[in-house]
């Protein structure tokens, strides 16, 4: 399958500028692709045909008049449905926000509009970004393009699937415990969680504020760099956004790994990692070594406790953040005789099981008598995790591991077993706890034909080196497989 919707962002930009096609034509190809793929994968919750067409027409008009807004000018992209878009329904995949049209654009969204990007629509996610499979959506699951009986990963599964099948040229997600990287790995695309604070969270529906970070999902490392550059940088509306200069994200993409010090995380190559994922990861490490990288093994002992700490910290923050959904200012209301009864009924009706579970878990972990034993202790584990990373980065430039302990798992396999689902994030959570950047790059397929993702981690603001190594991994892997789509019509779309 090759069509306009399969182009890289760079190639599409060239085509738009040399007159090979217009943004309106590019958008039409993407929408035609979605018309075929959506029935099979359900990546989108909303496709904004009218708004996207207007944006594409404007992009074409500006280019014709000599106004060029840069790499994303006229490029059709998708947004996870927890990013507020003014006047365009934003649900976070929850019944709680059915029909909600934000009165403002989040900062990342506003920057994308200013960069001339064409927002195709809003993608499916696990409700309020809580999950690892995109099954926890009030609007039905997204299916993995490589095998529709399996999950695409989550919570940004809709964005990952859209990019994988070409119903967007690039997309954005949010990553709290792996929600960009894990679906990218399971769907065979590139996913990046930037350094905490590099992208403003203003207008991102909050899950766990000390962990949440917006980042790109793309078909190549180069595309991911362009997508990240468009939204990175300080924002007056987010007090936790980073005030310094944005790292030179795409400067080193061609530099290779000769002499780069790469640490392999011992704990993330151990038991619990499926054989094919481990051997695929190991093979890539050997190839990086052959390409001149200096490879050593690095132990991060706190990793063993990271998952437990995360499932106290994230629910604790979630229970506080989701207190705002009380049936008063926005969202679902179920009437009651008293305000308290109205709130209790509204929240019971509006939240799905996983969100309810995490709110209860967080409420418990923060409640009097248990705070020190659970939440307080988890915060100390977070300190130890950071110290492990800091010590490691004295000796290596990047750390590597599998992104996910398994490839895509069957739909329904883990929905009744929260702990089994939580384990999907075991490799990605450490960098959320530390705030450091990490990315997933697809390297190969397992024997079932499902993608394996390779994780590259770097110290805070180490995006330049992370993308440099990620690009080298991409070149070595030469992963050019694409999911087989259901219809021959796709070829012409």
């Amino acid at each position: 399958m090759t069509g306009l919707s399969d182009l890289s962002i760079e190639a599409a930009g060239t085509g738009l500028r040399d007159g090979s096609f217009t943004s309106v034509e590019l958008l039409a190809a993407v929408v035609r692709r979605a018309a075929i793929t959506e029935a099979h994968h359900h990546a989108y919750l909303t496709i904004d045909r009218d708004g996207a067409r207007l944006a594409a027409e404007r992009a074409d008009g500006e280019l014709a008049d000599g106004t060029d807004r840069g790499h994303l000018h006229g490029i059709p992209i998708a947004l996870k449905d927890n990013m507020c878009t003014k006047g365009l329904e934003t649900t976070a995949s929850s019944q709680m926000l059915a029909g909600y049209e934000p009165p403002y654009d989040g900062t990342a969204v506003a920057r994308l509009r200013a960069a001339g990007a064409v927002i195709v629509g809003k993608t499916n996610l696990d409700e309020f970004a809580m999950g690892s499979s995109t099954e926890n959506s009030a609007y039905g699951p997204t299916r993995n393009p490589w095998d529709t009986d399996t999950v695409p990963g989550g919570s940004s599964g809709g964005s990952a699937a859209a990019v994988a099948v070409g119903s967007a040229l690039g997309a954005y997600g949010s990553d709290t415990g792996g929600s960009i990287r894990q679906p990218a790995a399971l769907s065979g695309v590139v996913g990046v969680k930037p350094t905490y604070g590099l992208v403003s969270r203003y207008g991102l529906i909050a899950f766990a504020s000390s962990l949440d970070q917006i980042g790109p999902i793309a078909r190549s490392v180069g595309d991911a760099a362009v997508l990240l550059e468009a939204v990175a940088g300080w924002d007056i509306h987010d007090a936790t956004s980073y005030r310094g200069d944005v790292p030179a994200i795409s400067e080193g993409l061609a530099d290779g790994v000769d002499g780069v010090r790469i640490g392999v995380v011992t704990e993330l190559m151990a038991e619990g990692i499926h054989d094919e994922v481990r051997s695929g990861t190991q093979e890539m490490i050997e190839q990086l070594s052959a390409a001149g990288a200096v490879v050593t093994e690095v132990s991060l002992p706190a990793t063993e406790f990271a998952l437990s700490a995360y499932y106290l910290i994230a629910p604790a923050e979630c229970s506080a953040n989701l207190a705002r959904f009380d049936g008063v200012r926005y969202g679902l209301r179920v009437d009651g005789d008293t305000t308290e009864e109205m709130m209790q009924r509204s929240r019971a009706a509006g939240f799905g099981p996983e969100v309810t579970r995490r709110i209860l878990l967080g409420t418990y972990a923060l409640s009097a008598g248990y705070y020190d034993a659970f939440y307080g202790q988890a915060q100390k584990v977070r300190t130890l995790m950071r110290q492990d990373f800091e010590a490691a980065y004295k000796d290596v430039d990047v750390l590597v591991s599998p992104t996910s302990p398994t490839t895509a798992f069957p739909i329904g396999e883990r929905t009744d077993d929260p702990l089994a689902m939580y384990y999907a994030d075991v490799c990605t959570i450490p960098c959320n706890l530390s705030g450091d950047p990490a990315m997933s790059v697809p390297i190969s397929l397992d024997t079932a034909g499902l993608p394996i993702g390779f994780q590259v981690m770097a110290p805070a603001l180490g995006e330049e080196m992370m993308f440099r190594v990620g690009a080298a991994v991409e070149r070595i892997a030469d992963f050019d497989a694409r999911p087989a789509l259901a219809s021959d019509e796709v070829v012409s779309a």
Binding site: Y100, E101, P102, P103, Y104, Y196, G197, S210, T240, R243, A302, F305, S308, A309, Y311, A323, V328, R329, Y330, G331, R333, D335, G336, D337, T338, T339, E340, E341, M342, M343, Q344, R345, R347, A348, F351, R357, I359, L360, L361, T363, Y364, A365, S367, A373, F374, G376, Q377, Q379, K380, V381, R382, T383, L384, R386, P418, L419, L433, S434, G435, A460
Partner: protein
């Protein structure tokens, strides 16, 4: 180590109405998850300071400039119930 949970109390604190059946299910699941999470208690953390946030920032100042706020009508348009420019909720205080 089994974890004792008063699920009815937790649900009340969280302002979520649960049926008896839901209380049973969530209570059991929370106990399982907390038993796993309680592993953090096994770690020696004497002298370790807690981390609440990945950034070591202290205060984030911005210029004290007057800017616009969201238009009231647009905000209230998304409210479940509004009257005379206010959010409306059920009665909170009993009549004396």
């Amino acid at each position: 180590m089994p974890v004792e949970i008063d699920i009815a109390k937790v649900a009340k604190l969280a302002r979520i109405a649960l049926t008896d059946e839901e209380q049973e299910t969530y209570g059991r699941q929370l106990a399982d998850i907390l038993e796993h999470a309680a592993r953090v208690q096994a770690l020696a953390t004497d002298g370790v300071k807690p981390t609440s946030h990945p950034l070591t920032m202290v205060n984030a100042f911005r210029p004290d400039e007057v800017t616009g706020s969201l238009p009231r009508d647009e905000v209230l348009a998304m409210a479940p119930d509004a009257v005379d420019g206010y959010f409306r909720v059920p009665k909170i205080l009993d009549e004396q």
